[in-house]
């Protein structure tokens, strides 16, 4: 497939079809639907327990490609085994791991690390709603500082883990961040992920209307704000080098993003000012380095 340039370049075929039970405005299911358009019918999905596990509800399934769900913490291990089993059975297919941030950053990091160390030829997309979303928005190591969750009722103290950097330390050939609000950027990354030989990891920000507290119609907009305020950076890591794939022409104030969500509604103007200062400092550093830098030597 050629590099996508415009929305109409996105294939029409769907392998995740309508009628499933994901919430209105769920961008995690949108992310899967988009990814499958690019990966096509010769794809097998491994799901780690979470919101997406509720897609196939017996006796129905909205998936037109093979799908397997085993448990929350073993998407990497299942990918490793599936890779070898398919090779033995002479079945050619993309292996797509699709697991949430809790299943990736936290409980599943061991098995993900095992698959990355072996550089298993699979695409692992972490659909990242920055919390344990399916159980009702509890704190995860992916939750950003200050965010309300049901288990951080006064806001999380610690910053989110830098998962892409952890994956970079495994020296896998392709790592990226993305957001379904930028489908062309996301799908070109999925395409690259499928093309590289070895493991590819994409951290996909998927705004969650239920957990984050915004109207379901606002999901795409919230994702755009996350990127345009500089709070979610879109980049790739290849050969130990980080390169931004999108630089906002004029960054919006973080308050526009934070004030649009209930999970940050407890923040004072001063709190938001402090977050703005942090983001400004980070982006000043990025600009200085031409929006690209080496992280692995």
């Amino acid at each position: 497939m050629k590099t996508l340039k415009k929305l109409t370049d996105i294939p029409m075929e769907d392998y995740l079809v309508g009628g499933h039970v994901a919430c209105q405005g769920c961008s995690a299911s949108l992310g899967l639907r988009l990814a499958l358009k690019v990966l096509g019918k010769d794809t097998i999905v491994i799901n780690g327990s979470g919101c997406m596990t509720l897609l196939p509800v017996y006796p129905t399934t909205p998936l037109r490609v093979p799908w397997i769900h085993l448990a929350i913490e073993n998407t990497g291990a299942a990918g490793t085994a599936l890779y070898y089993a398919l090779r033995r059975k002479n079945i050619k297919a993309n292996i797509l791991g699709y697991a949430g941030d809790g299943a990736t950053y936290d409980i599943g990091i061991q098995s993900l690390s095992g698959a990355a160390e072996k550089n298993i030829d699979m695409i692992y997309i972490c659909y990242n709603n920055q919390s344990f979303g399916n159980t009702g928005h509890q704190r995860a190591s992916s939750t950003p500082r200050a965010s309300y969750t049901t288990t951080t009722p006064v806001g999380k103290v610690e910053a989110a883990k830098d998962m892409p950097a952890i994956m970079a330390a495994h020296r896998i050939p392709y790592i990226a961040t993305a957001c379904p609000s930028y489908p062309i950027d996301f799908l070109n990354k999925v395409k690259k992920a499928a093309e590289v030989k070895g493991m590819a990891f994409i951290d996909l920000l998927t705004p969650c209307p239920v957990g984050w507290g915004f109207d379901p119609s606002e999901g795409i907009n919230i994702g755009r704000l996350a990127v345009r305020t500089g709070m979610w950076k879109l980049y790739e890591i290849m050969d130990g080098r980080v390169d931004l794939t999108y630089v906002p022409k004029k960054r919006k104030r973080v308050s526009e993003y934070l004030r649009a969500q209930e999970r940050f509604s407890h923040l004072s103007d001063d709190d938001i000012g402090a977050i703005q200062a942090e983001v400004d400092q980070e982006w000043a550093g990025l600009e200085e380095r031409g929006y690209g830098y080496e992280i692995m030597v």
């Binding site: 019918k41 017996y58 399934t61 490609v65 093979p66 448990a71 073993n74 085994a81 033995r88 098995s111």
Partner: protein
Amino acid sequence: MRQMITGNGAAAWGARLSRAEIIPNFPITPQTAIIEGIASWIASGEMDADFLPMESEHSVMSALAAASSAGARVFSATSSQGLMLMTEMMYVTSGLRLPVILVNVSRGLSAPITLWSDHNDVLAQRDSGWLQIFCSNNQEVLDSVVMGYRIAEKSEVLLPMMINVDGFTLSATREPVEIPDQGEIDDFLPAYNPEHTILDPKEPMSVGGVVFDEYMYFRSQQRMAMCNSKGVIKDICSEWEKLTGRGYGLVEPYCLEDAERALVISGSESAILKYTVDKLRKDGEKVGMLRLRTMRPFPSEEIIDTLSDVEEIGVIDQDISPGSGGIIATEVKACLGRGVTSFIAGLGGRRIGAEKYEQMFKRLGRDVEEWIF
């Protein structure tokens, strides 16, 4: 071909002869020699399989389930803490009806940490929906692995099987073992060709989805498969006997026809118990033994058939459910509908020996839990 090999060696031979294709693994004493043996065969080209060193036993069981779902014949081995870490995935594997074969080299559970044989690890998986076989010698280990695939892969069964090998007493002890020819095994055990779970884009299938009200229906299917397995195990065992001359069943009765007193046991300790029975029989004592070979399915009919006329019965447990007693004793009591003497012995590999068995035969007749140190 007859060789002097350990229980671990016999387990590895079982996997090799069965042409297991995917071997996810993680080292743990006293199992490690099984996966080391397989690794060296794969390296030398004597075995055609993919050796997958995983990052934990949880990942091992996950890998077994994933590869089996894709239609591969899979094998692994573990012990004790490793089996405990697999627990979550044990239920997933049986629930997905995957004919995985796992050898458990039994070892006491921590804490305090020990390396020696004990059945609390394997019995903790009693309710996981796995078939469970307890081996009494190294030949039985090899035979059980090969027969295991035939049994587990039968469409009326489709359940995973755990084969228990007592740590050190079998796993590290050499015994003469008859190793069948590969051609003979290839005729006995054809390639695995699943129809119920396939991961192939040509035939898209969603595996491991959510159920609501149907959950109980699926559990009843699993229970039916376990019931079906009794007949299948007997059939496959008699087929194996025709092929090799070595017969097995759900239980192994020993000198029970006219026995007045009997001890029920499982695993390799049964060898010394048989010796004790022979010794006491020479003195004119009417004693006998019943070895439970399958723990799941539980051989209720066989226990009733063989023990109903025995006056005094004791059950030896190398395990303990604190606050309840010997796990197997509890089940035997429920099955027979009468009291038995529950002996707790050999925990953490503590030596039992003939003198203690003699002591147990003398102490039958009371429905109590007695610890034989």
